[in-house]
Protein backbone atom coordinates (compact mmCIF):
# COMPACT_ATOMS: atom_id res chain seq x y z
CA UNK A 1 0.00 0.00 0.00
CA UNK A 2 1.52 3.32 -1.01
CA UNK A 3 1.58 6.37 1.24
CA UNK A 4 -0.87 8.11 -1.09
CA UNK A 5 -3.34 5.20 -0.88
CA UNK A 6 -3.06 5.19 2.92
CA UNK A 7 -3.81 8.93 3.15
CA UNK A 8 -6.65 8.73 0.60
CA UNK A 9 -8.32 5.75 2.34
CA UNK A 10 -8.13 7.37 5.79
CA UNK A 11 -9.13 10.80 4.44
CA UNK A 12 -12.26 9.48 2.67
CA UNK A 13 -13.40 7.46 5.68
CA UNK A 14 -12.84 10.38 8.03
CA UNK A 15 -14.68 12.90 5.81
CA UNK A 16 -17.81 10.74 6.08
CA UNK A 17 -17.51 10.50 9.88
CA UNK A 18 -16.74 14.20 10.24
CA UNK A 19 -19.80 15.20 8.17
CA UNK A 20 -22.02 13.12 10.48
CA UNK A 21 -20.50 14.62 13.63
CA UNK A 22 -20.78 18.14 12.18
CA UNK A 23 -24.50 17.63 11.40
CA UNK A 24 -25.23 16.80 15.05
CA UNK A 25 -23.04 19.62 16.36
CA UNK A 26 -24.66 22.20 14.05
CA UNK A 27 -28.17 21.07 15.01
CA UNK A 28 -27.40 21.33 18.73
CA UNK A 29 -25.40 24.56 18.47
CA UNK A 30 -27.92 26.49 16.41
CA UNK A 31 -30.92 25.51 18.54
CA UNK A 32 -29.52 25.25 22.08
CA UNK A 33 -26.59 27.64 21.98
CA UNK A 34 -22.96 27.06 21.10
CA UNK A 35 -21.34 27.13 24.54
CA UNK A 36 -22.61 23.78 25.89
CA UNK A 37 -22.48 22.17 22.44
CA UNK A 38 -18.84 23.14 21.99
CA UNK A 39 -17.95 22.07 25.56
CA UNK A 40 -19.53 18.68 24.74
CA UNK A 41 -17.59 18.38 21.47
CA UNK A 42 -14.35 19.49 23.17
CA UNK A 43 -14.82 16.96 25.99
CA UNK A 44 -15.35 14.24 23.39
CA UNK A 45 -12.11 15.23 21.63
CA UNK A 46 -10.25 15.00 24.98
CA UNK A 47 -11.80 11.56 25.61
CA UNK A 48 -10.74 10.45 22.12
CA UNK A 49 -7.18 11.68 22.77
CA UNK A 50 -7.12 9.64 25.99
CA UNK A 51 -8.33 6.55 24.11
CA UNK A 52 -5.59 7.05 21.50
CA UNK A 53 -2.97 7.47 24.25
CA UNK A 54 -4.14 4.23 25.90
CA UNK A 55 -4.77 2.13 22.79
CA UNK A 56 -1.89 3.34 20.60
CA UNK A 57 0.98 1.78 22.59
CA UNK A 58 -1.12 -1.30 23.41
CA UNK A 59 -1.82 -1.93 19.71
CA UNK A 60 1.84 -1.43 18.81
CA UNK A 61 2.81 -4.11 21.36
CA UNK A 62 0.65 -6.82 19.71
CA UNK A 63 2.63 -9.24 17.44
CA UNK A 64 2.02 -8.30 13.79
CA UNK A 65 0.23 -11.56 12.80
CA UNK A 66 -2.19 -11.33 15.74
CA UNK A 67 -2.69 -7.64 14.99
CA UNK A 68 -3.51 -8.39 11.35
CA UNK A 69 -5.94 -11.13 12.40
CA UNK A 70 -7.68 -8.80 14.88
CA UNK A 71 -7.65 -5.75 12.63
CA UNK A 72 -8.62 -7.76 9.56
CA UNK A 73 -11.59 -9.21 11.43
CA UNK A 74 -12.76 -5.82 12.69
CA UNK A 75 -12.29 -4.17 9.29
CA UNK A 76 -14.28 -6.96 7.68
CA UNK A 77 -17.15 -6.58 10.16
CA UNK A 78 -17.21 -2.80 9.65
CA UNK A 79 -16.62 -3.09 5.90
CA UNK A 80 -19.44 -5.55 5.26
CA UNK A 81 -21.75 -3.30 7.30
CA UNK A 82 -20.82 -0.23 5.24
CA UNK A 83 -21.12 -2.17 1.96
CA UNK A 84 -24.51 -3.59 2.90
CA UNK A 85 -25.96 -0.15 3.70
CA UNK A 86 -24.42 1.49 0.63
CA UNK A 87 -25.73 -1.29 -1.65
CA UNK A 88 -29.21 -1.04 -0.10
CA UNK A 89 -29.24 2.76 -0.55
CA UNK A 90 -27.95 2.58 -4.12
CA UNK A 91 -30.55 -0.09 -4.95
CA UNK A 92 -33.37 1.97 -3.44
CA UNK A 93 -34.05 -0.45 -0.56
CA UNK A 94 -33.06 2.11 2.07
CA UNK A 95 -33.45 5.89 2.15
CA UNK A 96 -30.37 7.82 1.09
CA UNK A 97 -28.46 9.26 4.03
CA UNK A 98 -29.90 12.75 4.04
CA UNK A 99 -27.94 15.19 6.22
CA UNK A 100 -30.65 17.86 5.79
CA UNK A 101 -33.30 15.48 7.13
CA UNK A 102 -31.10 14.34 10.02
CA UNK A 103 -30.38 17.99 10.81
CA UNK A 104 -34.11 18.84 10.82
CA UNK A 105 -34.89 15.87 13.11
CA UNK A 106 -32.14 16.83 15.54
CA UNK A 107 -33.28 20.47 15.53
CA UNK A 108 -36.88 19.48 16.27
CA UNK A 109 -35.78 17.23 19.15
CA UNK A 110 -33.45 19.92 20.53
CA UNK A 111 -36.20 22.57 20.55
CA UNK A 112 -38.53 20.49 22.70
CA UNK A 113 -35.98 19.23 25.23
CA UNK A 114 -35.83 20.96 28.61
CA UNK A 115 -32.79 22.86 29.80
CA UNK A 116 -31.00 21.40 32.81
CA UNK A 117 -27.86 22.87 34.36
CA UNK A 118 -25.19 20.52 35.75
CA UNK A 119 -21.79 21.54 37.19
CA UNK A 120 -20.02 23.80 34.65
CA UNK A 121 -22.42 22.93 31.85
CA UNK A 122 -25.29 25.37 31.31
CA UNK A 123 -27.31 23.05 29.08
CA UNK A 124 -26.83 19.37 29.86
CA UNK A 125 -28.93 18.22 26.87
CA UNK A 126 -26.78 20.15 24.39
CA UNK A 127 -23.60 18.91 26.09
CA UNK A 128 -24.52 15.19 26.06
CA UNK A 129 -25.88 15.23 22.51
CA UNK A 130 -22.80 16.86 21.00
CA UNK A 131 -20.49 14.78 23.25
CA UNK A 132 -22.08 11.50 22.12
CA UNK A 133 -22.15 12.53 18.45
CA UNK A 134 -18.51 13.58 18.31
CA UNK A 135 -17.33 10.63 20.46
CA UNK A 136 -19.14 8.00 18.39
CA UNK A 137 -18.04 9.32 15.01
CA UNK A 138 -14.58 10.11 16.41
CA UNK A 139 -14.15 6.54 17.66
CA UNK A 140 -14.52 5.29 14.10
CA UNK A 141 -11.90 7.82 12.97
CA UNK A 142 -9.54 6.66 15.75
CA UNK A 143 -10.11 3.02 14.82
CA UNK A 144 -9.38 3.65 11.15
CA UNK A 145 -6.25 5.70 11.89
CA UNK A 146 -4.82 3.20 14.37
CA UNK A 147 -5.57 0.09 12.31
CA UNK A 148 -4.49 1.38 8.91
CA UNK A 149 -1.57 3.30 10.40
CA UNK A 150 -0.26 0.44 12.55
CA UNK A 151 -0.55 -2.12 9.76
CA UNK A 152 1.34 0.16 7.39
CA UNK A 153 3.71 1.15 10.21
CA UNK A 154 2.96 4.81 9.60
CA UNK A 155 0.41 6.06 12.15
CA UNK A 156 1.49 9.74 11.73
CA UNK A 157 0.68 9.62 8.01
CA UNK A 158 -2.71 8.03 8.71
CA UNK A 159 -3.33 10.68 11.39
CA UNK A 160 -2.43 13.36 8.83
CA UNK A 161 -5.17 12.06 6.52
CA UNK A 162 -7.69 12.09 9.37
CA UNK A 163 -6.76 15.58 10.61
CA UNK A 164 -6.94 16.94 7.04
CA UNK A 165 -10.45 15.48 6.66
CA UNK A 166 -11.70 16.83 10.00
CA UNK A 167 -10.20 20.28 9.31
CA UNK A 168 -11.70 20.44 5.81
CA UNK A 169 -15.17 19.46 7.02
CA UNK A 170 -14.88 21.77 10.05
CA UNK A 171 -13.86 24.79 7.94
CA UNK A 172 -16.64 24.11 5.40
CA UNK A 173 -19.13 23.68 8.24
CA UNK A 174 -18.17 27.00 9.84
CA UNK A 175 -18.31 28.69 6.41
CA UNK A 176 -21.77 27.48 5.42
CA UNK A 177 -23.27 27.08 8.94
CA UNK A 178 -25.47 24.25 7.71
CA UNK A 179 -25.13 20.50 7.07
CA UNK A 180 -22.91 19.51 4.19
CA UNK A 181 -25.75 17.89 2.27
CA UNK A 182 -23.96 18.07 -1.07
CA UNK A 183 -21.23 15.65 -0.01
CA UNK A 184 -21.89 12.47 -2.05
CA UNK A 185 -22.03 10.50 1.16
CA UNK A 186 -23.43 7.24 -0.17
CA UNK A 187 -20.82 7.04 -2.93
CA UNK A 188 -18.08 7.78 -0.40
CA UNK A 189 -19.50 5.18 1.99
CA UNK A 190 -19.49 2.61 -0.77
CA UNK A 191 -15.86 3.50 -1.53
CA UNK A 192 -14.85 3.29 2.11
CA UNK A 193 -16.77 0.02 2.56
CA UNK A 194 -14.88 -1.43 -0.41
CA UNK A 195 -11.52 -0.34 1.05
CA UNK A 196 -12.36 -1.64 4.56
CA UNK A 197 -13.58 -4.96 3.17
CA UNK A 198 -10.66 -5.47 0.79
CA UNK A 199 -8.07 -4.61 3.45
CA UNK A 200 -9.99 -6.69 6.00
CA UNK A 201 -9.85 -9.73 3.71
CA UNK A 202 -6.17 -9.12 2.97
CA UNK A 203 -4.93 -8.53 6.51
CA UNK A 204 -7.31 -11.06 8.11
CA UNK A 205 -6.14 -13.84 5.80
CA UNK A 206 -2.48 -12.84 6.28
CA UNK A 207 -2.98 -12.93 10.05
CA UNK A 208 -4.46 -16.43 9.69
CA UNK A 209 -1.25 -17.54 7.96
CA UNK A 210 -2.21 -17.22 4.29
CA UNK A 211 0.39 -16.27 1.69
CA UNK A 212 -1.34 -14.15 -0.93
CA UNK A 213 -0.50 -14.86 -4.58
CA UNK A 214 1.53 -11.84 -5.67
CA UNK A 215 1.97 -10.68 -2.04
CA UNK A 216 0.88 -7.02 -1.62
CA UNK A 217 -0.10 -6.84 -5.30
CA UNK A 218 -3.09 -9.04 -4.42
CA UNK A 219 -4.74 -5.86 -3.11
CA UNK A 220 -4.72 -4.48 -6.67
CA UNK A 221 -7.02 -7.36 -7.57
CA UNK A 222 -9.03 -7.49 -4.32
CA UNK A 223 -10.16 -3.83 -4.37
CA UNK A 224 -11.59 -3.86 -7.93
CA UNK A 225 -13.03 -7.34 -7.33
CA UNK A 226 -14.98 -6.15 -4.26
CA UNK A 227 -16.11 -3.08 -6.26
CA UNK A 228 -17.29 -5.27 -9.14
CA UNK A 229 -19.23 -7.55 -6.79
CA UNK A 230 -20.93 -4.54 -5.14
CA UNK A 231 -21.89 -3.00 -8.48
CA UNK A 232 -23.28 -6.36 -9.58
CA UNK A 233 -25.39 -6.66 -6.40
CA UNK A 234 -26.66 -3.08 -6.87
CA UNK A 235 -27.58 -3.76 -10.51
CA UNK A 236 -29.38 -7.00 -9.63
CA UNK A 237 -31.30 -5.45 -6.70
CA UNK A 238 -32.33 -2.43 -8.80
CA UNK A 239 -33.83 -4.70 -11.44
CA UNK A 240 -35.27 -7.28 -9.05
CA UNK A 241 -35.67 -5.73 -5.57
CA UNK A 242 -37.96 -8.59 -4.54
CA UNK A 243 -34.85 -10.80 -4.36
CA UNK A 244 -33.91 -9.03 -1.11
CA UNK A 245 -37.14 -10.10 0.51
CA UNK A 246 -38.53 -13.16 -1.08
CA UNK A 247 -42.10 -12.27 -2.08
CA UNK A 248 -43.20 -8.89 -0.78
CA UNK A 249 -41.01 -5.83 -0.69
CA UNK A 250 -41.19 -3.22 2.01
CA UNK A 251 -39.02 -0.16 2.25
CA UNK A 252 -36.71 -0.02 5.23
Amino acid sequence: MTSVALVVAVFAACVVEAVEALTILLAVGTTRGWRSALIGAGTAVVALAAIVALLGPAISAIPIDWLRLLVGGLLLIFGVGWLRKAIMRAAGLKALHDEDEIFATQVAASRTAETERRALVGDWYAFTLSFKGVLLEGLEVVFIVLTFGTNQQDVPLAAFGAVAAVLLVGVLGVAVRRPLARVPENTMKLGVGIMLTAFGIFWGAEGAGVEWPGADAALLVLVPAVLAVCLAYIAVLRRRPELALGRSLERV
Binding site: G72, L76, I77, M88, G204, V210, W212
Partner: protein, 65 residues
Amino acid sequence: MRHLKAFGAFWWDFVVGDDWLVAVAVVAGLAITAALVHVGVNAWWFLPVLVLGLVPVSIRRLVRR
Protein backbone atom coordinates in the same frame (compact mmCIF):
# COMPACT_ATOMS: atom_id res chain seq x y z
CA MET B 1 -24.19 -2.37 37.25
CA ARG B 2 -26.35 -0.14 35.06
CA HIS B 3 -23.28 1.76 33.84
CA LEU B 4 -21.45 -1.51 33.18
CA LYS B 5 -24.37 -2.75 31.08
CA ALA B 6 -24.52 0.53 29.17
CA PHE B 7 -20.74 0.34 28.57
CA GLY B 8 -21.05 -3.23 27.27
CA ALA B 9 -24.04 -2.30 25.10
CA PHE B 10 -22.12 0.63 23.61
CA TRP B 11 -19.17 -1.56 22.54
CA TRP B 12 -21.47 -4.33 21.29
CA ASP B 13 -23.30 -1.78 19.15
CA PHE B 14 -20.03 -0.20 17.97
CA VAL B 15 -18.31 -3.46 16.96
CA VAL B 16 -21.14 -5.86 16.11
CA GLY B 17 -23.67 -3.30 14.82
CA ASP B 18 -27.10 -4.24 13.51
CA ASP B 19 -26.40 -7.78 12.29
CA TRP B 20 -24.62 -10.14 14.66
CA LEU B 21 -24.43 -12.79 11.93
CA VAL B 22 -21.76 -10.75 10.11
CA ALA B 23 -19.52 -10.72 13.19
CA VAL B 24 -20.01 -14.44 13.83
CA ALA B 25 -19.38 -15.30 10.17
CA VAL B 26 -16.19 -13.19 10.04
CA VAL B 27 -14.78 -14.77 13.22
CA ALA B 28 -15.69 -18.25 11.93
CA GLY B 29 -14.18 -17.41 8.53
CA LEU B 30 -10.88 -16.37 10.08
CA ALA B 31 -10.81 -19.52 12.24
CA ILE B 32 -11.53 -21.77 9.25
CA THR B 33 -8.86 -20.00 7.18
CA ALA B 34 -6.32 -20.51 9.98
CA ALA B 35 -7.35 -24.18 10.30
CA LEU B 36 -6.96 -24.74 6.54
CA VAL B 37 -3.51 -23.12 6.60
CA HIS B 38 -2.62 -25.31 9.58
CA VAL B 39 -3.35 -28.48 7.54
CA GLY B 40 -1.31 -27.21 4.60
CA VAL B 41 -3.96 -25.46 2.42
CA ASN B 42 -3.05 -21.91 1.41
CA ALA B 43 -6.71 -20.80 1.71
CA TRP B 44 -6.40 -17.22 0.38
CA TRP B 45 -9.68 -17.74 -1.48
CA PHE B 46 -11.82 -18.55 1.57
CA LEU B 47 -12.52 -15.05 2.95
CA PRO B 48 -13.37 -13.52 -0.48
CA VAL B 49 -15.89 -16.33 -1.09
CA LEU B 50 -17.31 -15.89 2.42
CA VAL B 51 -17.81 -12.12 1.89
CA LEU B 52 -19.36 -12.77 -1.53
CA GLY B 53 -22.06 -14.85 0.14
CA LEU B 54 -22.31 -12.88 3.38
CA VAL B 55 -23.31 -9.51 1.87
CA PRO B 56 -26.58 -10.68 0.21
CA VAL B 57 -27.49 -12.80 3.24
CA SER B 58 -27.07 -9.82 5.55
CA ILE B 59 -29.02 -7.52 3.17
CA ARG B 60 -31.89 -9.99 3.15
CA ARG B 61 -31.87 -10.23 6.96
CA LEU B 62 -32.01 -6.42 7.30
CA VAL B 63 -34.70 -5.91 4.66
CA ARG B 64 -36.90 -8.57 6.27
CA ARG B 65 -36.87 -6.84 9.66
